[in-house]
Amino acid sequence: MSNDLSLSDGSVGEPASSVGSEPPTELLRVSGLQKHYLDTPGLLDRLFDTDTERVRAVDGVSFSIDRGETLGVVGESGCGKSTLARTLLGLHEPTAGRVELVGRDVHEWIQTNRKGFTRQAQFVFQDPSSCLDPRLTLREIIREPLEIHDIGAIDHQNAIVEELVKKVGLSVDQLDRYPGELSGGQRQRVGIARALGLDPQLLILDEPTSALDVSVQAQILNLLKEIQVEFDLTFLLISHDLSVIRYLCDRVAVMYLGEVVEIGPTEAVFEQTRHPYTQALLESVPQVGAFDIEYEEIDPDIPSPRNPPAGCRFHTRCPDVIPPAGYDLPQQQWLSIFEYKLDIQSGRLTAEKLADMAERNALNVDDEKALTTFLRASYGIPDSLRDPTAQSHLDDSLHALVAGETDTARECVVEHFVSPCESETPAVTAIAPTHEVHCHLVERSTE
């Protein structure tokens, strides 16, 4: 199912900051990367645990980053962005797919020459209170990578440390203090100084400022901008904060349940997005200082990555889900029918539960008519639909459910109300040379 995304070669637009130097502009290429977790810890449990559930944290992700560029990865918790970042650095074993840094296969590079690889790519962590060893002084923390790679003698290392600590905006006399004596922002600066110690080409930042206060976050964001230019760094920034992504990133990838649903230049994705999920994300961010916005919400229940929905994984929450062919229905009517179908299919709605709800709303359980109207009301389905065939199928299902046969109600709905978004995985549609979207709706509109 992993479609190999072949990005158009050649320089992808002038990277924002650094000058195009001789070596190839592409630094990192990821193709069809997958990372699945088996859900069974320990020896004994394998003996007695039969079902081996697989959590598909990263499920076929492909993209590339050019030298000096900042690619942002945004998405909600459970979308796999953090797992992606850690798999890229070899902290997790990839289940499938390939990652290449400066043209060399990362997985193989780590097996053969781990230290060589770590000289190229480094990591900045989210939680400032847990990314520094509490028992070491700042000098020892920042010098440690230099010691491990025995870069020069002790005094040469100390010189580098002192220079690094000034670069990240701390003073040299703080070097002999312990992390416990510093504020969150200062500790994050030490983390950055440490990552710069090995002079890497790629810096992966996992939510670098989400644990910090607003004013401290601003200091760190500006610091990151400065060091990117000064150390000629390429960034991969993981964040759930769209304003941070907009501020720092040249390009951005939007992830949902282990897949990249949209990738492109930040400007294009933020201003002319075509993917319903990205639109929903952008619309739910409360605007500072804007007061007349009508915020509309999508279904807040995020499916679990253990068994993601089939086809386009966003179809269970997508306001623009495509109705089945052959029905002429306004989108709102179709959406309420679809929600009813999903509830029945997933078992959230059964005859017993309906009776229970009816009882709680003081309805007579055997009065079928009352129950049907109650059902229609709770899903916002109007009494008469514009499309007669849809109307009859729906009525059959409702009557079956009200009469207590949940199974017949389910078969009827599953058979007649299948959205294309459920059946096939959306192919890639390039709505601009470097702006791709995985969405059936967009695919159809560009044909």
Partner: protein
Amino acid sequence: MAGTADLLRIRGLSTQFVTEEGQINAVNDISLTIGQGEIVSIVGESGSGKSVTGRSLMDLIEPPGTIVAGEIWYRSSELAATVDDETAVDGEYVDLRALPPAVRQSLRGTAFSIIFQDPGSSFNSSLTVGRQIAEAVEANRRIKAGQSYGTLDLLRDIVTPNRSFVSEESYDRAVELLERVDIPDPANRAEEYPHQFSGGMLQRAMIAQALAADPTFLVADEPTTGLDVTIQSGIMGLLEELQRDLDMSILLITHNLGVVSRLADRTAVMYAGELFEVGPTEKVLNEPANPYTKGLLNSLPDVTDPSAQIEPITGNVPSLLDHEMPVGCSFADRCPAATDDCRSAPPPVRPVNGDATHRVACVHAGSDGGEHLTEPVGSGPTVTDIEVPTGVSNE
């Protein structure tokens, strides 16, 4: 939406913590007015004391913390009727802190409710969610019916297994509340344990629990922090809807200026235990007067305009240790506009551009007519100064 009448008038509230390093002034002489059916937000960074303010209102401060000063005037005519202590009553308003502890505690969960930032640690992990909400419903029903529940009642409940604190009706009411906050399949979810809920769903369950006795006043302590964008938006929508339907006043405590823009009618900016600026949210965010508020706004990356450069506030939040607190304005050594008179005396309170509902505590801010307001910065929108029984000034 200026409240027709104020529900709560907080005057000179101070809460301190005694620690080894010394006395911490978490909340330092706070005055704030909350109108009926109004959403007032306290915005501030960590360490500003905003959470402590919320908990002080709910009388949830436990040793080593104590509320050392301040009055909390709560408008409730039927409560005022029951209080015989003259100094504690002023017309319809009752000073909660002058009430006997038993009466004050009876307001918790009935007139006042609170929801917390991390629902995972605010629910008891060994009881089902339905049961815990039912307990809240039952507790309020008994308080309103004036029944007390002592150790003897507890022993009787333990001894007779079928008898339990929670009655059948309150359990059904709990399931209804879960349905009210749009949790799908509420009957089954009520029987599940907190660790089986997602973050967003558990936060909704906590809101359901707070509605157990349809309170008049809700303290929401960082209700959306740590939630994903779409779930956060759902929670904000739910709060808006509940506030409209139940005409409930909400004290929204957060560090997120976006959440404030969407929800809050009025906003108070808090720093190092003091209020720096209070006013209608539109005014405070679009015409910020206090340098700290300006600093906060400038350090926010703007999602709509990436090219806008952000200027961080230099330095760090001061420790709130009593012996280290500066005489003058506590933001002086980080403030770009600081001068000597900032450091010599506490900042005066002045209206901004002549509008008394938008006040600022800063020497260099506010209308330069030098017009000092006697009322503290957090006073309410009504310009006419009400006669406050005990003389309160900002010094």
